[in-house]
Symmetry: C2
Subunit: 299 residues, 2 copies
Amino acid sequence: MTTIGFIGLGIMGSPMAKNLLKAGYPLVVYDRNPPKVQDVVSAGAQPGLSSRDVAARSQVVITMLTDTPNVEAVVLGPNGVMEGIRPGATYIDMSSISPVFTRRLAQQMANKGVDMLDAPVSGGHTGAVNATLSIMVGGKQEVLDRCLPIFQALGKTIVWIGESGAGQVAKACNQIVVGLTIEAVSEALVLAAKAGVDPARVREALLGGFAQSRILDVHGGRMLRREFAPGFRLRLHEKDLHIALSTARELGMALPVTALVHEMMNAMQATGRGELDHCALVTLLEDLAQVEVKPAAQR
Amino acid sequence: MTTIGFIGLGIMGSPMAKNLLKAGYPLVVYDRNPPKVQDVVSAGAQPGLSSRDVAARSQVVITMLTDTPNVEAVVLGPNGVMEGIRPGATYIDMSSISPVFTRRLAQQMANKGVDMLDAPVSGGHTGAVNATLSIMVGGKQEVLDRCLPIFQALGKTIVWIGESGAGQVAKACNQIVVGLTIEAVSEALVLAAKAGVDPARVREALLGGFAQSRILDVHGGRMLRREFAPGFRLRLHEKDLHIALSTARELGMALPVTALVHEMMNAMQATGRGELDHCALVTLLEDLAQVEVKPAAQR
């Protein structure tokens, strides 16, 4: 079976690596944090000495890192993936990073005879553990076809979006819609609460019509129950909107509402709320309005 | 059977009045535009001479008008509803107007011995014709119970939200969520198109995850097909967000993203696009980005 190199064993990467082991893939892993390596090695993986070493020993190399600069350092930096990866190998970046950087990187990989896919995911820690991630893939469709068994060990919905970078674009679009919808639901529920109307009843009524969304359902419910433990950390959503905004700038276009919601997420971080779930964005408006979104029964 | 007075026979009011006739209610109608009265009289209604006359001849008076000033004029102005309505009668305002004004009006009606319900609807012209409107009701619950057969002749989902004005608050919340979600979908799809990624594939991928919403489905589909004939006119959505914003101001709270989307709707009207469907909001971003949200197959 294909030997897979896996770099980045955080809250997402670690359960994903373990699912690849469960599917029977020989795995070589690396993380700059040794205890995280040890944990996956206990589950059956081989430890790599560096990103370069992992790449040199694998036919498929996967990275799952938190931001564009991290991917740049791990892939292009000293002892990085680029130094070790072999012509004919495949590189899959499952991090959520800049689509523009992704396209550049795919070109550099191609120059070395390496096929690259960008394959960011949605579904969070739970999706990673249960192998139910949604995976948005950019790159050559035949490369995706070849790697499909690997993706099927990690996720449920695997969608080819387009050429290199297209997976990252789709992820940025996803985070725009999710972030802005959280804010939309927040403004509506805080208005209801401030007007003395039960926000739980308003949510119920709105779920039956054109205002329906998974965010109104799931995150609206969390807001009412004051469940702000993550879930998906607000500071990572801020990072994703930052990627969307810098991509838009490089392409020459404006995302006015994304920019405003990004500023609100910045304000959340500045006031110590970056580690909460992203639906805690509602508390920013609540502060301004001096009211809380609580069902009438609990007030 | 209860004689109903119906004032305001526009794109919504006219089919609603006809559904009440179909349900067997004796109907007295008025509109400042005589041909509209004539049309509903042909269907079996009695013509009233004025709003006052309609009110004097009815046990239940319904208004379906376009804005707060119109309701104010028709109810409190000369020859208005307040001059004619009888103690013991019920007044139902189905327009979408200010919750604050609604509460004041309900108090004035109570002083005259008249029960008032605010009962704004969502579902548009199609919902009005097919009697499938969603109706959000504010006022005393026992008054709603008494009037339920009337609402059942007009709509499908009838939800009691709370005391007087609560129906209007819920409607404002609905329009916030719908308007902001349209903008969220617009920013995502225009980013995809500008990045050279098929916006139709991005919409498909996003519908499978947390970004799912009825707006992404229905209005996203309309954007891709360039279907900008209304539907729900953008200028009426602008009016509804104006109501939400002035309500927020009166309550002492901020709705920052609603304010920005309201400004974008103003810009749409200023550039002659107020009569298009509200999903045409996407064209404002398209202008700025010099790109159109079209499926790759059609480019």
